[in-house]
């Protein structure tokens, strides 16, 4: 089966499992309507970025956190927050792709490869401005989105500063917690509006980040590699944090200019840590489920969310 079609089906099934097809259709329609009404100068870039496949996992997190606290229908403020989180998530993807020098994302050219860096950066600013405009009547959301942008900026700098260093699992938790963790923390707060699920969101983000790390190594290992870009840049992923406890692997990981043979050895040692990484992810998933049980009125949507996230490492 075509990989893209398979991924689409998985994404749609996650939405269906959580029962938010209607709300997600509304999010898609609003984004499409905004892209359609945007300035003609910017529209092709926005179409390229937004009208491609997306997991919509962050809006899904907002809806699930809201449902876990309030069984009623999803209100307008929450729906609006879901649209804006998708905007901000896309901004983070565009910037990440530029910084990581990535040519492709989800099987097609990245925005800066297709339209150039200037257009990609300007599109990012355009999207952020639209996001804040949509939040003009929701002061709580403005505060949360501001927190998110600041924390993502700090996390990106921290991750780059700490590359190729002999660090540990606790350092990985700190980086992942500020990077993906902050995104999902904010999603949880936007959904429940009481801060009660903030810690759950942080754990879900940590789980998502770890599953992504493991999925990259697993996917690349199947092709004979091991999460090439992260290995090349010396990024502290979960398998890396486990593998570099071995002093030999640690020395290779910290080399300023590793040669292809070194990179292969590092990738292989990361792949060897996959079972330990999966066990660690199971522990984080359990922590998240416990948080959901303790601090929500109905933990079922949150448990389903954890289950969907956990599956990402086995993709």
């Amino acid at each position: 089966m075509n990989e893209a079609v398979e991924l689409d089906r998985e994404d749609d099934s996650a939405i269906a499992v959580l029962g938010f097809e209607e709300e997600m259709s509304a999010v898609r329609r609003r984004i499409a309507a905004w892209v359609e009404s945007s300035d003609p100068e910017m529209r092709p870039a926005l179409e390229w970025q937004f009208l491609s496949r997306s997991k919509y996992f962050r809006p899904l997190t907002i809806f699930s956190c809201h449902r876990a606290i309030d069984p009623g229908p999803i209100p307008e403020t929450i729906l609006n927050s879901a649209v804006v989180i998708e905007f901000f998530h896309n901004v983070s993807l565009v910037i990440d792709d530029i910084v990581d020098r990535s040519d492709e994302r989800r099987g097609r050219l990245t925005l800066h490869k297709q339209f150039g860096e200037l257009n990609a950066l300007m599109a990012s600013g355009y999207i952020v401005a639209e996001g804040y405009l949509r939040l003009r009547d929701d002061v709580q959301a403005i505060s949360l989105f501001s927190e998110l942008l600041k924390r993502l900026g700090v996390a990106e700098c921290m991750q780059w500063r700490l590359r190729r260093q002999p660090l540990g699992i606790e350092d990985w938790r700190r980086i992942a917690g500020e990077d993906t963790g902050s995104m999902f923390e904010v999603c949880a707060c936007l959904g429940d509006r009481s801060e009660r699920l903030r810690r759950f969101g942080g754990l879900l983000g940590l789980l998502y980040h770890g599953c992504d790390d493991v999925g990259d190594v697993r996917g690349a290992a199947a092709l004979g590699g091991g999460g090439e870009e992260d290995v090349r840049d010396g990024i502290l992923t979960l398998p890396a944090a486990l593998a570099i406890r071995d002093p030999t692997v640690g020395a290779l990981f910290c080399k300023p200019d590793p040669d292809p043979k070194d990179l292969r050895a590092i990738a292989s040692s990361f792949a060897a840590q996959l079972p330990a990484a999966e066990t660690y992810l199971d522990e984080i998933a359990e922590e998240a489920r416990t948080e959901a049980s303790l601090f929500s009125r109905d933990p079922a949507p949150l448990w389903a969310l954890v289950e969907q996230t956990r599956r990402l490492s086995r993709r």
Binding site: P166, G168, I169, E170, D171, R173, R196, R199, R245, D246, P247, G250, E291, L294, F295
Partner: protein, 165 residues
């Protein structure tokens, strides 16, 4: 767990006297105002009083169970820490771990994990206790609101001021 009906009754006598006197005055004032509904209001005041009397016991119980769970979590974290160290250096579980830089790094990482777990447990139990106390507070508010609805049914509610045309 926080259902008021599941909890033990009145705790300290001195406190009971103060609350009984306060609720007695409240019930008297209500009786004078309401006249024919006096019995109903007395019952309502008594039911709210029962709920309020149980609050110190509930709060103490919530605090105690939070402390017990926290202690248990700390003990579990310590056991896992010891097991982790033993797994990392079977022959030097307690000495010699700092012999090489890589061993020191692992020791530091494991120790940070221990401290995070202890901190997480403290934070989780504090938030859990706060959440449970909030639920007790909500139960009291609901009990009071239910009594007020009984005394002032919606169909008897009348505006007490003139509205300008």
């Amino acid at each position: 767990m926080t259902n008021p009906s599941d909890w033990p009754g009145a705790p300290g006598e001195a406190q009971s006297d103060v609350l009984a006197s306060w609720f007695g005055d409240w019930a008297d004032a209500w009786r004078i105002r309401e006249g024919p509904d006096a019995l109903e209001t007395r019952e309502f005041a008594a039911s709210v009083r029962d709920v309020v009397f149980s609050v110190p016991a509930q709060a103490s119980w919530i605090g105690l169970t939070a402390w017990l769970r926290y202690s248990s979590a700390v003990a579990e974290a310590l056991v896992r820490y010891e097991a982790g160290l033993a797994r990392l250096a079977p022959d030097h579980a307690h000495e010699g771990l700092g012999a090489s830089p890589s061993n020191t790094r692992v020791l530091v990482d494991e120790t940070r994990t221990l401290l995070r777990r202890v901190g997480d447990a403290a934070s989780q139990e504090a938030r859990r206790a706060q959440y449970e106390l909030e639920k007790v507070g909500e139960a009291i508010a609901w009990a009071a609101a239910a009594g007020e609805r009984g005394s002032f049914p919606h169909n008897q509610h009348a505006r007490r001021h003139e509205v300008k045309a």
